[in-house]
Symmetry: C2
Amino acid sequence: MTADGGSARFEARLGEIAALTESLLDRLFGPGPVEGERARAPRLLDAVRYATLGGGKRFRPFLVVESAALFAVPQEQSLMAAAALECVHCYSLVHDDLPAMDNDDLRRGRPTVHKAFGEATAILAGDSLLTFAFDILARPETHPDPAIRIALVLGLARAAGLGGMAGGQMLDLEAEGRFAAAPPKMDLPDIEQLQAMKTGALLRYGCVAGAILGRADESARKALDRFGAIIGEAFQIADDILDVEGDVATVGKATGKDAHARKATVVGILGVAKAKQKLFGLIGEAERTLAPFGPDAALLKAAARFVAERRA
Amino acid sequence: MTADGGSARFEARLGEIAALTESLLDRLFGPGPVEGERARAPRLLDAVRYATLGGGKRFRPFLVVESAALFAVPQEQSLMAAAALECVHCYSLVHDDLPAMDNDDLRRGRPTVHKAFGEATAILAGDSLLTFAFDILARPETHPDPAIRIALVLGLARAAGLGGMAGGQMLDLEAEGRFAAAPPKMDLPDIEQLQAMKTGALLRYGCVAGAILGRADESARKALDRFGAIIGEAFQIADDILDVEGDVATVGKATGKDAHARKATVVGILGVAKAKQKLFGLIGEAERTLAPFGPDAALLKAAARFVAERRA
């Protein structure tokens, strides 16, 4: 398979999984109520649907579904786990965009949830999405074996919480000097740790979720865990480069924010040229990590290149 | 047992479970990291500890532990589920207190989390607590059987989410007329539905969690579910009465808020006297619902009276 062929196949598959994720989320966020619910508040449901439907590359769902496919997991199952992860990702965007956090007005080229619905509704929509992710994972449709479902729950909670994404967002706000007179001095390991938590943890979970669903053996699981970590690191460096080089129209959100916030980034420390070099080194490592899976992992390898080369 | 004897025994047991819950939460919110976490951001951990430790009657943990005790569930297990539920309760307080929501400065007589740590940290602390609840439930210490743990996860997600507590808070904000020129007309069933979601769902879950842990049969589970629903309704009416009759020093938070917000309440529609009558009717129903459990349910019955008679 040529690199170009891989990229075209990758984009087709990414689009396919995005469409399937979208239609699953649309079904899950129906008018309800389902068993154990009293009623679904219409205004909250509208905000939740606005936050999750009609956009997004669904890259995390792609990672779940394609990692799971290595172990021949039925796609109906991996899509459920994918939808749960996407809910957590969307919740994090809604809360991170809030005025008290990153104060963003635009997301995917549309008004952010708090701009469209107000802050209170945005807070509750984020809370509901986070909660709903665990609802999805707990359903028998996600996997018939409760032991698998509870492993997915534990992994997601660890990836998203205090010692994962939420903790990373806290460190990120501190890195902007929010709670001190000036931003703290941060070296490369500090920044990498912050990013491994803020961005990396969920991407990594996406790959590990596939291994959990597929009852992967220790070495396969470790390889996917490592692959996810690399993807996470590459993703953040690419994001920082976009922040420096991109423009609002292409990226669909504000750019130049890191410099404005005087925030330490890998790109800020290494410079764009060396950061790009590091990025492509990571892609090579990602491909080597997936080598044991042979040609089955071609789409995941293409995903690593996509992360490094994305322009939006 | 006399009513007085029951009340003294209840208060002792409530205090005992509160102390055990506090010490478990203190352990769970240690410096970490645990497996699957990278590091625990110290500022976020401080805010999470502030939000959960050093206060609170721990009434929800009491409901879990005492409901589970009906089925001889080991207390180490029921305390884990209790701690998870308390995390969700505390998260809801932190987010509900935010300026964009109820804008409260005081909680349990102390500055609210956003007053003490700022809004961004409060949002993240709430998010982390909600996430952590599912982390706790997913651990083998909560119950050795994954099927039991996943049932606890699903029940909590439904109780806390879109069709439960978060949905109820949305309806409550709408009831204040936040998103319209005037508060909407609400009749008694509307208000009861709102309250069943906002306050009732978690209390009800507390009782059902005991039944899940204890592998209760259908009829015992239904009785506890109904008991929880009654407790929830009584709790809210008592809260509304306190809002009318209480003072800030005793209640530990602002009072007179419902009238100020022109919010429809059961007390507003029925008047205080009839609301109190309804409240005591509910207590009678709660006791009848628990009759099948005989004297084992004495403390839960005392809890129902506690809810009706509380002054803070």
